[in-house]
Subunit: 494 residues, 2 copies
């Protein structure tokens, strides 16, 4: 029975996975290629496709097949497939169809309302809708939690196996350490110049393509385009990346590219045996972010690699006003006062995330009202950043996540940084030539290591198990905090 | 009952139509955007999507709903929806699943084998596969025909309601007339120069975009890209066109663009009420081709419009060696000795199609063996064109249609030209200012006429009914033959 049921289930999931990947391509097309006037029709397409995928994933036959399979007869990869399929089937089956449809309807409309409220700088105009979104997600959490913790139920969608109690443990020390470091840097007398001048789009894209090469992107199975908000999209043999160009800030283009290449190379490096199965994508949002961040920061913003980038920029742009590689390294890593998470440096980025995490936990716990969210945001921001939010666009209305119902998602950003901290420490131990390689723009050995430890496995292991197998111990925030503290202590002479 | 069943059926078909449109976008992406290494995964996607669409279209619930609907209770648009849905449901239900799967498998592999055989110039290498394709399509035709004519059963997929006996009537006089005209032109002493020089891609695309504007393409709901073989793709609010650029032959780009804009504007002009229903696309392949051909030929290659194009080319390219608009008109319409259907002029194009039609009818009737196909092709070609095929790439291996199983499709090209001939005669009667408008690059009134008579209706009427409503009588080949004979008799002073 196991054999027949397993084969039938895998064939069924093969179609479901293919349809999900198609949905991803529609999203890519929408952000890069589609004409504006096609938006309503595209929404209809996505809605029809999602309904079809949902019907496939919750097909009662899936339950029958799962019941007919004896896990003892499966090899480890087969068992991992069943683990992921079961989890998804149970999650989706627990949420009443009407609730799922209502969430889809409200969050779809909410995105436009949020954009309008943000443009108008008017949180009150969006407050009612956001309260509805939070309420619906709390209902969903209750359905999913089955008596357990509501926030954990939501978190599990993005980071399977993770719990808020564990996040609290990882995040507490990190926050203290980062706030201390930020305050210390504020007292530093080190002055770092800014980059100045104009850097043409063609020349920036020339370097962006080189950077994608350097970090192992496979052009034969993807492409690079421009988008308003850079992203990576796809799995297996079709993984596309986007970047953006600001003429006065080439680092925006370069580091967005490296970040997205981190996501993309992870997907491209997954063992082809997992193609079109539920294991054929990254293990979790946190693990995904660990790859984009280690590419972007630990590797890409290292002294060694910025030395290489400095040479490449000089070759393309000539003298652009930065006198030497060491100054360039400082410029790339300079701390700036700012309000926007996505623009933040390594020191402040996680403070942004932890703020959102604490607030959304309270929203889901019911201990914070949406009516009080803006005040809570502003108060916490001033506490951790040392200055006040100057506008709601730079405050509680800056991210699209909550409006579209992504609650339980934010902490995976910082979790990704914590994983990246662990992986980087191990990588340095295992690869003594890392810095001399990076100084030559050579990431080959580092990529071999990451592919072996992380990429090739796809979703075979639970995220935490995957990291633990890679580094030899349960993940802790210490290596990340240690890395950031040393790096910026050195730059700012603390 | 009718009301509930109709509503449920329309919601079901809404999803099926959306999924079909998504499949179209995947095809567009594959031809314009996708990286080479993504091809296998894309084939898996299409296969999963097609299986899902097929399951939806043949869902027994569709049969139940259709049975529960009383046509007497429907308004004309509702009845038209039911007409098209029933026809498709019956067609798809008649073909055994195993046969459909075998056809998909064989034709999918056959495309690659055909490309290899064509590259090698070796018909014998492909003959076995083609025989298999023909055999499978004959089996399908037998399943569809239900005792009726086999070829009609296949033709009905592309041109609902049309029969071979009617095509024979329309095509017989056309062939005689065109062969006579071609022979007459062969005797003409008129000498027409060729266009010479190099025309840059950027400048060609500048004019191509202008031509798309001139012919009413809505950029807000589509886009123009390059592809190896130009095509138009999509329906409703997302209709994309492609063209190609050959530096020495700007007409290739310009007239490919106008042709594809003809297809695209037809789709863009369909009444939005038909959006995401089975009526929300062109009435048939023949009617579709009538729009691309009337745009390209009757309008685009007219003396009036080429006068406008001549000015635009002079503005962009400067003096390009053609002395005046009348000479330019002759250059655009010059007859050339050639072997390839897609490169053929208005006189010879339909001779190419009629050759294929007659041969494929015999293949399906079982009166011609695939083993004898190459000889039959070469013999007929020499008879109608007056010179011999010089290579199999220029002969029976030139088109992808038969390898991918498209039998019954070719005649819709000539049917489209016949419809275009009828529509052009009516348009001239109704719009006395047509030539003076076209001379200014103004197609507004012509487009209003075509939208009113043809475009807006989508699939509401059977193709022949649609044309008859538009021109006031049953379609005949006479207006097309008359138009071609006059136009080329004038140019070649016969």
């Amino acid at each position: 029975m196991t054999n027949n049921a397993f084969t039938a289930l895998m064939a069924h999931m093969h179609e479901a996975v293919a349809l999900s990947q198609i949905s991803g391509l529609l999203g890519w097309d929408q952000e890069t290629t589609m004409a504006r006037g096609s938006a309503n029709q595209r929404a209809e397409w996505q809605s029809a496709l999602q309904a079809t995928i949902h019907a496939k994933r919750t097909d009662p036959k899936v339950g029958d097949w799962l019941a007919a399979i004896d896990p003892a007869e499966l090899d480890p990869i087969e068992a991992a497939n069943i683990r992921v399929i079961s989890r998804e089937y149970e999650r989706q089956s627990r949420v009443p169809t009407d609730l799922a449809r209502e969430i889809a309807r409200v969050t779809s409309a909410a995105q436009g309302e949020w954009a309008e409220a943000r443009a108008a700088g008017d949180f009150a105009a969006f407050q009612g809708t956001l309260a509805k979104v939070v309420d619906l997600r709390r209902q969903e959490a209750a359905a999913l939690a089955n008596g357990g913790d509501l926030y954990d139920a939501l978190l599990g969608e993005y980071e399977p196996g993770m719990q808020a109690v564990e996040l609290d443990r990882l995040f507490a020390g990190l926050r203290r350490g980062l706030v201390d470091l930020r305050e210390g840097i504020g007292q530093s007398s080190v002055e770092i110049p800014d980059i100045e001048g104009r850097f043409s789009q063609d020349q920036q894209m020339l370097i962006a393509r080189e950077l994608a090469d350097v970090f192992g992107y496979d052009w034969n199975r993807g492409r690079l385009d421009l988008a308003v908000h850079p992203f990576s999209s796809g799995s297996g043999d079709d993984v596309r990346i986007t970047t953006r160009v600001a003429e006065q800030d080439p680092f925006n283009c370069f580091y967005s590219t490296i970040h997205e290449v981190g996501h993309a190379v992870y997907e491209q490096n997954i063992d082809p045996r997992h193609g079109l199965t539920v294991l054929g994508t990254g293990a979790s949002m946190g693990v995904h972010e660990s790859q984009s961040r280690i590419f972007e920061n630990q590797l890409g913003r290292s002294r060694a690699f910025t030395g290489f980038l400095f040479q490449r920029m000089q070759a393309v742009f000539g003298d652009f006003g930065i006198p030497d590689a060491e100054t360039f390294y400082h410029v790339v890593n300079k701390l700036r006062r700012g309000y926007i998470r996505t623009d933040a440096d390594e020191v402040q980025y996680n403070l942004h995330v932890l703020l959102r995490y604490d607030l959304e936990r309270k929203l889901i716990a019911g201990t914070l009202d949406v009516a009080d969210l803006q005040d809570a945001w502003n108060q916490r921001f001033e506490q951790d950043f040392g200055y006040a939010v100057d506008s709601v666009q730079n405050g509680v209305l800056q991210d699209v996540h909550w409006p579209v119902g992504l609650i339980g998602y934010f902490p995976t950003y910082t979790l990704g940084n914590i994983y990246a901290g662990e992986l980087y420490a191990s990588l340095q131990d295992d690869l003594p030539t890392l810095d001399s390689d990076l100084a030559k723009g050579d990431t080959k050995e580092a990529l071999v290591w990451l592919k072996e430890k992380i990429h090739r496995h796809g979703g075979t292991y639970e995220p935490r198990d995957l990291i633990e197998r890679a580094v030899g111990h349960a993940p802790s925030e210490a290596p990340l905090l240690d890395y950031i503290t040393r790096k910026f202590g050195d730059i700012y002479q603390l």
